[in-house]
Symmetry: C2
Amino acid sequence: MILLGRNFLRAGLLKPFGALRRVLIADEALKSLYAEKLAKEFQAEFLLTPNLKSRETAHDLTDALFKLGCGRDTLLIALGGGAALDLIGFAASIYMRGLPLIFIPTTLLAMVDAAIGGKTGIDTPHGKNLIGTIYEPKAIFADLDLLKTLPDKEWVNGFAEILKMGLIYDASIWKKPDILKAIRGKMAIVGKDPREQGLRRILNFGHTIGHALETVADYLLPHGACVALGCAVEAHLSMRLGFLKAKEFAEILDLYCRFPLRLPKSYTRAKLLSAMAHDKKSAQGEVRFVLIDRIGHAIPFEGAYCRKVDFSELESTLEWMEGVYS
Amino acid sequence: MILLGRNFLRAGLLKPFGALRRVLIADEALKSLYAEKLAKEFQAEFLLTPNLKSRETAHDLTDALFKLGCGRDTLLIALGGGAALDLIGFAASIYMRGLPLIFIPTTLLAMVDAAIGGKTGIDTPHGKNLIGTIYEPKAIFADLDLLKTLPDKEWVNGFAEILKMGLIYDASIWKKPDILKAIRGKMAIVGKDPREQGLRRILNFGHTIGHALETVADYLLPHGACVALGCAVEAHLSMRLGFLKAKEFAEILDLYCRFPLRLPKSYTRAKLLSAMAHDKKSAQGEVRFVLIDRIGHAIPFEGAYCRKVDFSELESTLEWMEGVYS
């Protein structure tokens, strides 16, 4: 269940979830901004969490729940951006084999992407989100009023995912970005393929390159910037392989040129390729890409929704990327 | 899918799972006994794992998979007893949000209990199995020939779970213990209630006391002995609360008297109660028990399949236990 609206976070929303003990979890930045007030409204205990998602913080967060004596009769309410929801969702999914959970996303990116579809994840030295679970929250409360305090760069992060949805799924979103349409699109896709056996893979468009760039940059670049750059590059690849018309690629590039995109200083092609080899879509050592054949449509490839791309095929696209974004 | 039989572990069994990379995981003791031979038969790489299930070993096992470069195209084959399957199952469930998995249980306990129903778990200083997931293997291969090398105490462990199934679900198993019937019983129960919202709770009969005793004994007592003692004590509680006839309790006690059961030296009532407070069935600070009203039938309690028991109700049963088993 997802609720989208403005200024609707009231205690009554929790009635359908029964008389459970409630623990609201958020990081330091959100504590005084929203979390303490919401914890009071929801009659919940407040628990502070770091906003870094790692094995260590997952360990610490589950330990904090043990110390509070939380049992399966505890409803966790996770307030935060994508990283916080990923971490708290993961902790909720492994604590006593799963506690009931509510997400309250506080960034545009989390509302249109991270909160939806049940993917939880933490980062390891081996790569981003390589440890995680598929675990659905009972409800998502997306209150647009929480975005009033959102910094500009966070708007870019969310905007990049909305545009991606336009490229792979619904051309009308590309023409006119729309939060509700992006949310509905993602829900429809994950509803058809919750465990990412096929269709759901299209959501990874822009992320094969994007995640590898994040790894190369040691996670110092914003996710949205990396995904936007990744979308431009993977659109180029779609064109190079003969699937996407040059005219549509030009339209795509025209929009992404307005983003201030740059490769990280630490970039080398060898590092990028090494990071891509750890991509979760890779199989038998081959890197696989989601590709588009027009704006608004990812190619099904007989239900695989991705295609292996040899290094020789990738090379000229990487050269193009290095030329444009260095 | 579960296959039960003798001497049937051949490469052809894996054909339905496709052309995946295969990694067989087992501990040191099983390495030379069965694992290396099976890895060869299945054309799988062999990976050694400790048989302790903890956050640290889960960390190490997932790291070993990263170091092998395993992607989602890897089929994990877990060979071992309950603890190993719990650990490997947990690692499989969180590695890249879930790898396909096959269980080959090597103990009677694992065949009739741990391998079935998708519960994975690791122990923490806060208690047993308090971190874990619900994650179903693609298949379970239960080869009775693997039990030829099973030590006597391991037969007791499995026997205790089979008897428990007789007490809660099928009186014919109590009269004449039967591996296949016990497996079918557990599969039927978890099939009806995979996420333990009701019926599945009956499998915890004997375990509220049993797990608490394991915690008090610092996990130095065998699981089966603790469960057997727990079943006797929770049958006593069922009688004390007026649900179970004294005659049937006497029949139950008569059988459990043949087990060499003793409370751990470290036992104190305070420690037991404290360990029970962390039980996963406990709610709002109350300890809840599965109870039986006859051999072969756990009481539904309006779909909850457990009932809170106040300390005053529990006290005389604990006194009885301390008198009989000290």
